[in-house]
């Protein structure tokens, strides 16, 4: 299955909570799409923020979602103000705070 490209690799899963990152927030970002390069420039800058651990782009009401981790709420506040709100071409941001992971099963229903 590895040769056929179905399995692309194995990665260790880091438990950020065990490393002191207690806060995880999903930021759902709507971009200013009148800017032709909004997607590229936004994601390129978002990649430079170390606390951003996931970037997903969507078709729908939300354009981009960032997973951001922080040590605590004041750390999050600082990241949000200094690193996130300064990202280019943001039209709107909504935050979802993670409370619990009920299911984490990346297995495919084959």
């Amino acid at each position: 299955m590895e040769a056929s490209g179905i399995i692309q690799g194995q990665e260790a899963v880091i438990d950020w909570a065990a490393l002191g990152y207690a806060v995880e927030v999903s930021l759902r970002v709507t971009l200013d799409k009148t800017q032709a390069r909004a997607f590229d420039e936004f994601t390129a800058q978002a990649r430079k923020v170390p606390e951003v651990i996931e970037i997903q782009t969507f078709l729908g009401r939300v354009d981009v979602r960032l997973s951001v981790i922080a040590r605590d709420m004041s750390h999050y506040q600082q990241i949000y103000r200094d690193r996130i709100l300064t990202l280019p071409h943001i039209a709107d941001i909504e935050a979802l705070m993670h409370i619990a992971r009920v299911k984490r099963d990346e297995a495919l229903p084959v």
Binding site: Q10, I53, F58, L96
Partner: protein, 170 residues
């Protein structure tokens, strides 16, 4: 909470990219003996900093072309318990992750489907019939990337990363 030194961070970073590397190979890369590297990796695992391994699967090669994230708001009218909803939603095979969140929605679901009509089937037959499900918002995933996170290995001389991307990130 586990304290990490620079070498721990490098090991963690390397393993998050490729968990199949041996202690010997990692030791050679970071100037450790095989037993020393092994002990450090074991400590990372035992302390819970590494909580497991994940196979990176190519969903499309397996015929799952569509990934959709759903924001689900529970209908407040009925007295449906969170446990009932969580149990029912976790039992759906197409639902890969369920996250309880605070904000606009109550739950965030990651759903895989073979194509859009397959997704419609899952949505109608499985999601809409969940006990207590109210508002549902769907966003189709176009692209996804995982980043190394704040492990702080930026000062390290750029190691040969398999994706060739992380060295350009800073």
């Amino acid at each position: 909470m586990i304290e990490l030194d620079d070498i721990d961070r490098k090991l963690l970073h390397a393993l998050a990219q490729d968990a199949t590397q041996s202690a010997g190979a990692l030791g050679r890369r970071f100037g450790l003996s095989q037993p020393a590297a092994w002990r450090r990796i074991k400590r990372l695992q035992d302390s819970g900093a590494i909580k497991g391994r994940r196979l990176r699967l190519n969903a499309e090669a397996l015929g799952f072309g569509v990934t959709v994230f759903l924001g689900v708001k529970l209908a407040r009218k009925g007295q449906v318990s969170l446990e009932d909803f969580e149990r029912a939603v976790s039992a759906i095979p197409e639902v890969q992750t369920v996250e309880h969140v605070l904000g606009l929605y109550d739950y965030r679901l990651r759903v895989v489907a073979r194509d859009l009509s397959d997704f419609e089937r899952v949505l109608r037959r499985r999601i809409m019939t969940l006990p207590g499900a109210g508002d549902v918002e769907a966003n189709v995933l176009l692209s996804e990337e995982r980043l190394p996170g704040p492990i702080g290995v930026s000062n390290a001389p750029a190691p040969e990363t398999p994706d060739g991307e992380s060295s350009a990130r800073r």
